[in-house]
Each structure stands twice: as C-alpha cells, then as structure tokens.
C-alpha cells in the first residue's frame, strides 16, 4: 500500500507535486493562524482580566478554553444586516479585502530554518505591499456603509496607516541595510550567533519605531481611533454584524499575530534561540535550548501579543491629531536619523558591519 502511494507520488509531474506540497503548507499555515487568532482572543481576555482584577472567561469548557469557539458559532449564526443605503457589493467585499492580505502575508514568513511557503527574494517588499493593501478593506467598509460614524473611522484609519506605513518602511530600510537582503530567511540568518547579533541591539530605535507603528497599523489601543469605541462607536465596522464582523475581527487579530511575527523576525532573530552560543550548555540536558526552532519564534510572537494586550489595559486612547503628530514629527525623524547613523557605522565597519566586504 505504502509502496503504491509512494510510487504514484513519484509518477506525478513535478509541477503537480510542487503544487500539492504548497497547497498542503498553505492549509497548515492558514489553519494555524486562524487557531492562533481564536486562542489569542482567549489569551487577551484572560490577560486583561487578570490585570483588571477579574477572572475572564471561565465557563465554556475547562478553564473557559471553549470560549473562542462559542464566540465563532455565535457570530456564524447571526444575521448579516446590510444597511439599505449602503453600497451592497463593496459592503460585502470589504471584510474579505481586509482579511486576505493579513493571511496572504504569511506566505513569506519563515517559521523555522526550512519551512516557508514561498521563499522569495523580495519577501520584505511583499510584506510591505500586503500590509498596505489591508487598509483598503477598512476604507471601503467605511465608505460603503454610508454612515457618518463609519466614514469618520475610515478617514482616520486611512490617514493613520499612511503615516505609520512610512515610519515602518524606513525602519525596515534599516533592517535591510543591516541584513543585506530582502529575503526574510536571510534576514534571520544574518542575526544568527546569539542575542548580541540580533538587530534589536544595533537598531534599537528602529525596533521601537517599528513595533509602535505596528501597534498603530493594526488599530490597537492606544492607537485605536479608527474604532474608538467611546467616540465613533465602532468606526468602520459599526454596521457590520455576524460573519462580516467576524472577518474584520479575524483580520485585526491575524494582523496582530503577523506584526508580532515580523517584529520577531526583523529584530529578535526569528526562530533563532536566545541561548545560541552558550557553549557551556553543550553536553548537558539543556543543550536542546541552543538550537533554533519554531518554538522560539512562537515564544517571541506570544511575548509581543502579550505586549499588545498590556498596552490595551494600561493606556488611554490618543486623539486623532496627536497620533498624526507622533507619526510624522517623531517617528519619521527618528528613523531617518538612525538610518544615517547606521550608514556611518556600516561605512566605518563597526559592530555587525565589521565583516562587510570592501
């Protein structure tokens, strides 16, 4: 039986083999991301609950672990109300437009040294392009709803994402200069060799800018003016219900996981172990800690997700014009200055640029 399967597999043309394997990988990653999203809602409610001295979900299933599924089922069986004055086609298409880029960006994310769906050389550009496309879903949703609240939310979101996209782009220029490659796998490999080689150290200002811009880009507190619950009720998704709302929700959380993963890859060495190079661990039972693996990436993602929730529980919300000021007048100058500093360091061959060819 086994032999038969293997031989029929070998008989397939290589294109079909490649397609099958890729489809299989896509399913694994998509299901993985969606499950991560489901449990990060649970994680968020538990974390914020404990910060606010309450319990959080604890009724559905053991420890409330069934809560995400209960939420999904509830949203699935709710009616989707399409406002009569809305543009029906755009109204329905908008949630998809915001979800698809959030999932598609995972194509180039290396989960460990070998697993990546599409190992393309322009990975970083691809990520930048897709995260920018996500904003169209938000703008279209706000426009198609034909409500003043939604429209305000969409306008705020558009302006905000444009501003922070630039800061993010500049921060990534720094990463690009340090790694010398646009391939995400190469960027991680450039940081191998222990914590001291992580870009976090040499590009610390860029790391901060990238991370905070990431929070802003995903419309999370304290930058959640696009949904600003107490001002414009829910912003762009004020009229969405049922599955359509669930898709926006999914997109927001998928984006959070994505930004966490990207920050880990760009600045914290992706799948690399923080104990790499601790040679005294060799031969001890703890030696496995030194190897880079998917679990290190997952741990870093969890840490950044926790930071998302931590921010949300701590800070008041910025006002719209203050966000713009922060983006244009603080972050962009910081990144530009640090790129210059980095250029000078690279020219002088200091730090990680010491081994640069002449």
């Amino acid at each position: 039986m086994m032999d038969f399967l293997l031989s029929s597999w070998d008989a397939l043309p290589p294109t079909v083999q490649y397609l099958t394997i890729t489809m299989f990988k896509i399913v694994i990653v998509t299901v993985g991301v969606i499950l991560t999203v489901a449990f990060s809602t649970y994680f968020e409610r538990k974390v914020i609950g404990s910060m606010q001295s309450r319990v959080g979900p604890n009724r559905v299933g053991p420890l409330g672990l069934g809560q995400p599924f209960a939420d999904v089922i509830k949203l699935l069986i709710k009616e989707i109300i399409v406002p009569s004055s809305s543009d029906k086609f755009l109204f329905v298409i908008a949630p998809l437009l915001s979800l698809i880029p959030a999932l598609a960006a995972w194509a180039v994310i290396p989960l460990n040294g070998s697993f990546v769906i599409a190992d393309i050389n322009a990975g970083l550009l691809y990520v930048l392009a897709l995260t920018s496309v996500g904003v169209y879903g938000v703008i279209l949703a706000g426009w198609a709803t034909n409500s003043k609240y939604a429209f305000l939310g969409a306008m705020r979101s558009a302006a905000q994402i444009v501003a922070y996209e630039i800061a993010m782009g500049f921060a990534l220029v720094g990463v690009l200069m340090a790694a010398g490659s646009l391939n995400l796998g190469e960027i991680v490999r450039a940081q191998e060799g222990g914590v001291s080689n992580w870009f976090l150290i040499w590009l610390f200002p860029l790391f901060l800018v990238y991370w905070i811009s990431g929070v802003a880009e995903t419309n999370r507190a304290p930058f959640d003016v696009a949904e600003g619950e107490s001002e414009i009720v829910a912003g762009f998704h004020v009229e969405y219900s049922g599955v359509a709302f669930a898709l926006f929700f999914l997109a927001e959380y998928a984006n959070m996981v994505l930004i966490s993963a990207l920050t880990a890859i760009f600045f914290l060495g992706g799948w690399a172990s923080p104990f790499e190079g601790w040679t005294f661990l060799e031969g001890t039972p703890l030696a496995f800690l030194m190897a880079g693996s998917f679990f290190w990436l997952a741990a870093k993602i969890c840490f950044f997700m926790y930071t998302f929730f931590w921010l949300r529980a701590t800070f008041p919300r910025y006002r719209y014009d203050q966000i713009m000021r922060l983006g244009w007048k603080v972050f962009i100058p910081v990144t530009i200055v640090w790129i210059v500093v980095e250029g000078v360091l690279a020219w002088l061959r200091v730090g990680p640029w010491a081994g640069l060819g002449s």
Partner: protein, 417 residues
Amino acid sequence: MAEIQSYTMNFGPQHPAAHGVLRLVLEMEGEVIQKADPHIGLLHRATEKLAESKPFNQSIGYMDRLDYVSMMANEHGYVLAIEKLLGVEVPIRAQYIRVMFDEITRILNHLMWLGAHGLDIGAMTMFLYCFREREDLMDCYEAVSGTRMHATYYRPGGVYRDLPESMPKYQESKFRSKKEVDRLNEAREGSLLDFIEAFTDKFPACVDEYETLLTDNRIWKQRTVNIAVVSPERAMQLGFSGPMIRGSGIAWDLRKKQPYEVYDQMDFDIPIGVNGDCYDRYLVRVEELRQSNRIIKQCIEWLRANPGPVIADDHKLVPPSRVEMKDDMESLIHHFKLFTEGYSVPVGEAYAAVEHPKGEFGVYIVSDGANKPYRVKIRAPGFAHLSAMSEMVEGHMLADVVAVIGTQDIVFGEVDR
C-alpha cells in the same frame, strides 16, 4: 473646487459615551466641532410633578433616582428643605450619620465618574478598579438601608435607623470557596463602622493606584490638559458649581460657605484648580476623594464615642417603632396616620441646598399647608453644566467632546428629572 461644507452629526441618544441618553447634534467641519447642541428630555420622568401628588415622605425615593450615582446626597437636599419648613431639630448623631453618608456618596459618585471618564478617554482598566471599591461602599448602603442603590435612608427629622452592629456576610457556595469567603468576610466581622473604617484605611492607597495609571500619564495629559478651558469669570456666569467651578479656581463649596449639618466641625480642605481645564477638574475630583475619606474618618471617631437617638422624637412626624405600635393605641393611630395621610407642613416656602458631589443641588418647596407639596423645584447642577457644552467643545475635536461629557460628570437622571 466645491466649497467645504460643515455637516451635522447625531451624537447619541444611543452612544456608549453619552452617559445615558444625551443627544448632541454636532455641527462639524471635518473632525472639528463648530457647534454642539445638546437635546435633553429623553429621560424625563416628571419627578417634580409626581412629588406634588403624594405625601412628602413618599417622594424621598424619587430623589434617589434623580442623580442615580449619588443617591443619598439627593435625598439630603429634599429632606433639608422639608425640615426647614417644619422647623424640626435633627439629633446630632443623625447629623453625623448624614455627613458620613454624604461623603460616602461623594466617593461613590467620584469613583463612578473617574471610571467612566477614564473609559471615555480609553483607559478601560480604571473602570474596573473604581468599581472594585464602589462595591464596598454599596455594601455600606445595603447595611443601613437594605438596598444597594436607592436607599431612602434620610427622613425628615433624622435618618431611618441607627447604624447596624453587624455586617451581612458572604456565604460559601459552589462558586465561592471557604478561603475566598473568609477573605471577603475579613472586614465584615465587626459593625458597619468597623467596616467603613477598614475601608477608609485602605482607600488612600487605592487612590494612589488610580493616580499611577492616569495623573502622570502622557497620553492622559495630552487628552485633558487645555481641553475645555473655562475661565473663573465665565464659570460664574454660567452658573457652575461643585468641582466644575472649583476646577476653574474659585473656592466655592457649600460645605464651607453655608455649612449645614455638622460640616462646620469637620476638618477638610477644598481643592481648587488653576487653569480650568479637564485635567484640573480631574485633579480636583481626585483630591476630593482623599478629603472625603478624611471627613469619613472624623465621623467614625465621633459616632463611636457618642451613641444616641438618630431621629426626632416626635410622633406627629416620625412613625413610632413597630413594637410600640403593636401594644399602644395612640402609637397605632400615629402609625396609621403617617403611613396613609402623612404629615402636614406649615404654609410657606423654603430652599435648601447641599454640596452634592456634582455641585449645588437645591430643592425649593412651596407648601400650601397640605400633606403634599404645592410645588417642588429641583436645581440640578448638571443642567447648568450641560448648557455650557457648546461653549466648552467649540473648536475642539470629536474625541474631545467625549472628554468634556466626562469632565462635566453628566447624569441624565438629574438633568431631565
């Protein structure tokens, strides 16, 4: 290019930051407010008119429902006006109890305000922290009156009954383990006074905790400093009172300026602001939390040392106890008369005002000598504050409207009445 037009937006009446049923019609240019037009009356329950149709005592419960986050303070204003008309002497112990519960109410109100204001500006943890402490104070309400919100505890002539000697306790259940119940009941072993004292001991640390989250927070400051500045002159012209006028730098507090009950014997300070912006009003209210705590401590000390009657000994006004009623004919008649017809109040009119947590809460009663008021007029502080809304938000952004609604501490129960 087409000319830019301003557009109108309906803010409320169903809006998470409208604090009930405020309907604001905003005229905006982009996000900047040109004009705000508050529409009121969506929670009108005709309290004043209802009070004309029933005996004096039966309206006390309605007063609780005016500003439903500072219940006893409303009762206080109404009861004071009746006492002024009747000329009745309130026992000193009752006065201390009233002062103590007025201050408990002030803390209740300010905690609710702080939580809601924080939530409006996006600091959602504040809300839950504040409600944690409110829970204890609600238990104090429950211990003296039997209800957690609408107490109907103050009566003309005193308060309904003396402070209880024991606190209700939590009991073990499927959801509460023995250990948890013991922890919850720790402060409840003694009398109500012990419980309140335990609260006043821990409360300053709680206020510190709120302040660590907000006072020096850069985002909080950016959102409140220089927002909705009201000059002292303008604050007076607009009829502001309470923390709103004190935030503008005028030390006006009825507890000091026209002391009622035993406030003249209390040692406390009036905090005032400097710039008259949202941040100053925030600081004023937070300091008032601490000052109220001080007053409560003084009341506890006095109340421990001085037992005595808590309501006037006049059965034409105050019903006799049930024990008396059961075996004394005259008491039975008094009881029957008071609970059906009520008492008659001499002809005249009176205005009594208290320093309500939100400002000057006044009740004006005209009596024609019957057992019901001829007319009751309530001066609600929130009404005057709300009418300044347009002036305060002009030129600010949409997000600031929410901050201003918060800083005014609007509650629709009293504005609409």
